[in-house]
């Protein structure tokens, strides 16, 4: 097992705090009286609600259907009654609410009948559709619908990478899962490999997880290579892990599939195994609850579990806690409301205490020390981007490749002036997106205006033509009256209108289908949010906007 590893530039060594939660086995949460299931737990368009208040549901019943291409389904976590389909707090950096199905449990936990999938013989496209309807999305935090990533068409994928790096401090859910359920994970990997036709399978695990490495090695078949990668944040970034294991650099704005690699999180492999072997939809996930709680550890909880209950299961927050984080401390975000439910995207809840998360010191001006640039895994010059972002010169910030920033936080982490660099980058990106949107709106308005002018002009012309035609017709009729010729042709105007309508519909359909999926494994939640907002906007406008990134300033 001595694969040659490649070294990414940059990276940092934050304190791990993994021991806090990695020592105890995964605890399965008991049935709760109430679940709140968001219809959007993935990147892309929210699922379309299939139930209404008052409906009875069974465990595993689809309550939200995938809507559009980049979307996936949502399911009832237990049997009971839908009490509401309404906006509810969700764990999201924006702190906004989202449409959720609130289910009151009947305590019976009756399930629909699950049908295992014959994945070796099923038609690939049918298999993918089943996986979509089972609600599978990446559990590494980016929650990209799995069925899209499992489509090998045109991608030429030769390498499948399973991401078990888990480089963020505090989080240990993947670690525990690998220690305890290695065999099932590897069965999921076999399905992925089959679907993608990948020649090589690599499993990357940071070398601070010797037990997980051993367990995975013991369970792995001979043709699956379990590789220990050096512990260095952000090794678990999709592009970073791809480079470290294969030396292939994902091109800017592209996906790892562009270099023949597909990356999945270990949790996703485990879920895929359950999906095919048991026919079970994605109903639960393992989540780390750690920090200033009585019983830090990993909990297998149903999706929709209110975070309050999750915290209770971990013994509750200890006195003196100062809020909670969703995700890790490097890329996570503040949880606004404990009522928000567990979703597919939530891999960790950290209860903060001032001893673990001291107040940030005063910010000083940038001294151009370059520490941020040396720490940046994307080889960016954060202080230059900061300079321009602060001056609101977003074009210049973009010319320093702002959009290659993965918001990993390494630059802020090392800055001796304690500048919240990533905040500035998030701000700059959202401003640029906002401007693009305005521009897009303006373009559309202009187009509409021009079309109106054109239409008025055309109508005028048509009127004139009709008038002329009528005159001619009258003359002709007068002439032909004696011969008794009847006018029977179908109305050409109606035909034309129908054709135009059909063309427009086709265009809109194409545009919707043409939305390109991105490699969003391990994207920070802020980006996710922005992406999903864009997806939503696209869906609303029904217009094609094929770029993956907003257009860049020429550089």
């Amino acid at each position: 097992m001595s694969r040659k590893l490649f070294t990414c530039n940059g990276g940092v060594h934050p304190e791990g705090h993994k021991d806090a939660s990695s020592g105890t086995p995964i605890v399965i949460l008991p049935l709760l009286p109430r679940y709140v299931v968001p219809l959007r737990q993935h990147i892309g368009a929210p699922a379309r609600a299939l139930v209404r208040a008052g409906d009875a549901v069974l465990r595993g019943q689809m309550i939200g259907a995938a809507e559009g291409y980049v979307s996936t389904a949502a399911h009832a976590p237990t049997s009971g009654r839908v009490v509401a389909v309404e906006p509810h707090e969700v764990p999201h950096p924006s702190g906004l609410t989202d449409l959720c199905v609130v289910i009151e449990s009947d305590g019976l936990d009756q399930a629909v009948e699950f049908q295992p999938l014959d994945w070796r013989n099923l038609d690939p496209s049918a298999l993918r559709n089943r996986i979509r309807d089972l609600g599978l999305a990446g559990l590494g935090g980016a929650v990209f619908p799995s069925f899209i990533k499992l489509n090998p068409e045109g991608a030429g994928i030769d390498t499948l990478i399973l991401n078990g790096a888990e480089c963020e401090p505090w989080i240990t859910c993947d670690d525990r899962l690998m220690r305890e359920r290695a065999a099932e994970i590897l069965q999921g990997v076999a399905v992925m490999r089959h679907m993608l036709g990948a020649r090589e399978v690599l499993i990357g695990i940071e070398d601070n997880k010797p037990e997980a490495l051993a367990a995975m090695r013991a369970a792995a078949a001979a043709d699956v290579e379990v590789v220990a990668v050096p512990t260095l944040y952000p090794t678990g970034g999709g592009k970073q892990l791809t480079y470290i294991l294969t030396g292939r650099e994902t091109p800017t704005g592209g996906r790892s599939t562009d270099v023949g690699v597909q990356v999945f999180n270990v949790g996703t492999a485990y879920a895929l195994h359950r999906a095919v072997a048991l026919g079970e939809p994605m109903l639960s996930r393992v989540v780390t609850v750690t920090g200033h709680v009585a019983a830090p550890g990993n909990y297998e909880a149903r999706l929709g579990t209110p975070i309050t209950d999750l915290l209770l299961a971990a013994g509750g927050a200890l006195p003196g806690s100062i809020g909670k984080l969703v995700g890790g401390p490097m890329m996570g975000f503040d949880l606004e409301d404990n009522a928000a439910p567990l979703t597919k995207a939530v891999n960790c809840i950290i209860v903060k205490h001032s001893s673990l998360f001291p107040a940030k010191p005063a910010v000083l001006p940038c001294i151009r020390c370059g520490a941020c640039a040396r720490a940046c895994p994307a080889d960016l010059q954060p202080f230059e981007m900061y300079w321009f972002a602060r001056a609101k010169d977003f074009g210049k910030a973009q010319s320093y490749d702002l959009f290659d920033c993965i918001e990993c936080g390494c630059c802020s982490f090392v800055c001796p002036s304690h500048i919240p660099l990533v905040d500035f980058f998030r701000f700059a990106k959202s401003e640029i997106w906002e401007r693009e949107r305005h521009k897009h709106d303006a373009d559309q308005a202009r187009a509409r205006h021009e079309f109106k002018e054109f239409r008025l002009e055309r109508e005028k012309q048509e009127k004139a033509e009709k008038l002329a035609a009528k005159v001619a017709e009258n003359k002709a009729r007068d002439a032909a009256a004696a011969a008794g010729v009847a006018e029977t042709a179908a109305d050409p105007e109606a035909e034309r209108k129908k054709a135009i309508l059909q063309a427009a519909l086709d265009r809109a359909k194409k545009a919707r289908e043409g939305v390109t999926p991105r490699n969003t494994e391990n994207l920070p939640p802020a980006v996710e949010k922005q992406i999903s907002e864009i997806e939503a906007r696209r869906a609303e406008s029904g217009a094609a906007q094929p770029e993956t990134d907003p257009p860049r300033a020429e550089s």
């Binding site: 940092v12 091109p251 490097m330 000083l364 940038c366 290659d404 090392v414 919240p420």
Partner: protein, 345 residues
């Protein structure tokens, strides 16, 4: 705007960085005391006091909170570098003027910490050498060459009262760079010049040891990642290469590389002055170009210019070119095909 990351690297602040750089200067200062007497301690403290005074005054004037900015240590470093670049035992007001130019003009008139285009200590030095050339060439002579080496109290006396009992000739001398220049002009041979006791073994008696101490401290900085290797390496390489070529072409007029590396402000410049992050180039390639050219200019100014040392002017000249150098030497971003020109000019 208060998002991730929620943790920061520990023991990391501008103050810590500056204090570590200051600590790396200590071996050089000790050697200086050993070979040239304790006068340097007087000028160091004086510059530090003046600098803190000016800084506090300006911060108050600009309505900037005193505590975080005064405690960042940057002004202390500027003051110490200026003191180390200046002759010791000069009258007190010379230090005051130097610090004024460094802190008030070069730093705060350009906007304060992080905003200045020119290296503050070198601006202070340049202003002095242009305005008071005589004072700036009277360096304390090394022990063994000087007739007297003033002790601490005598040094105080000299700085504040201007000597009195002791004549400057007794304890000062021209630097080796100066001596070389004048004596070559007088037509003396290289061997004859270098044979004088003040020239020591390679870069001037005492001076060469001080330079080696700066080298040691500087290497500590690099190994602790407070500076990257690029600037010191390129600066010294630029000096060595230029001096080497000149020496090969005209050995009678130009001293060899070792002499240039160990005399004057070369080592201090390489590790502590040219590396000032605010005013130096920031990209790896840019640093090599910036410092290599600064080293080259240092030797050229020493050889052909009218000033005793070239480090200050070389650094200041290259400071002007930094935005340009940076913009054209941007490193390749992950996933991109090429690096190169971006942003500014």
């Amino acid at each position: 705007m208060n998002g991730s990351p929620y943790i920061l690297s520990e023991n990391n602040s501008v103050t810590v960085v500056m204090l570590k750089v200051l600590a790396a200067l200590i071996p050089g200062v000790i050697a200086q005391v050993w070979f040239f007497g304790p006068g340097i301690l007087v000028s160091l403290s004086l510059c530090a006091l003046f600098a803190i005074g000016f800084e506090a005054f300006i911060l108050l004037m600009r309505g900037i909170p005193l505590k975080p900015f005064l405690s960042d240590g940057s002004v202390l470093l500027t003051a110490c570098l200026l003191a180390l670049a200046m002759p010791t035992l000069a009258p007190w007001w010379l230090y005051l003027v130097g610090v004024f130019f460094a802190v008030v003009v070069a730093k705060h008139l350009y906007g304060g910490l992080g905003q200045n285009l020119f290296n503050p200590a070198m601006v202070g030095y340049a202003a002095l050498i242009v305005s008071f050339p005589v004072y700036m060439t009277q360096w304390a002579a090394p022990v063994g060459v000087a007739h007297v080496t003033p002790n601490l109290w005598e040094a105080f006396d000299l700085v504040f009262a201007g000597g009195g009992s002791i004549s400057p000739d007794a304890y000062t001398s021209a630097t080796v760079l100066d001596t070389w220049k004048t004596q070559v002009r007088q037509g003396l041979g290289a061997a004859e010049i270098l044979g004088q006791p003040i020239f020591g073994r390679a870069g001037g008696r005492g001076q060469e040891i001080v330079a080696l101490m700066y080298l040691g401290g500087g290497l500590l900085l690099v190994s602790n990642r407070l500076a990257t290797w690029h600037i010191p390496f390129a600066f010294l390489a630029g000096i060595a290469a230029t001096a080497g070529v000149l020496h090969l072409v005209e050995p009678a007029r130009h001293a060899g590389p070792l002499f240039h590396l160990l005399s004057g402000g070369a080592m201090l410049g390489a590790f502590f002055i040219a590396t000032d992050p605010v005013t130096a180039a920031s990209t790896p390639l840019g640093k090599l170009i910036y410092a290599g050219l600064a080293g080259f200019l240092t030797v050229i100014i020493r050889a052909y210019g009218g000033y005793p040392d070239g480090v200050a002017f070389a650094v200041l000249l290259m400071n002007v070119a930094v935005p340009f150098i940076d913009a054209y030497t941007q490193p390749r971003v992950f996933g991109h095909k090429h690096g190169g020109k971006r942003g500014k000019p």
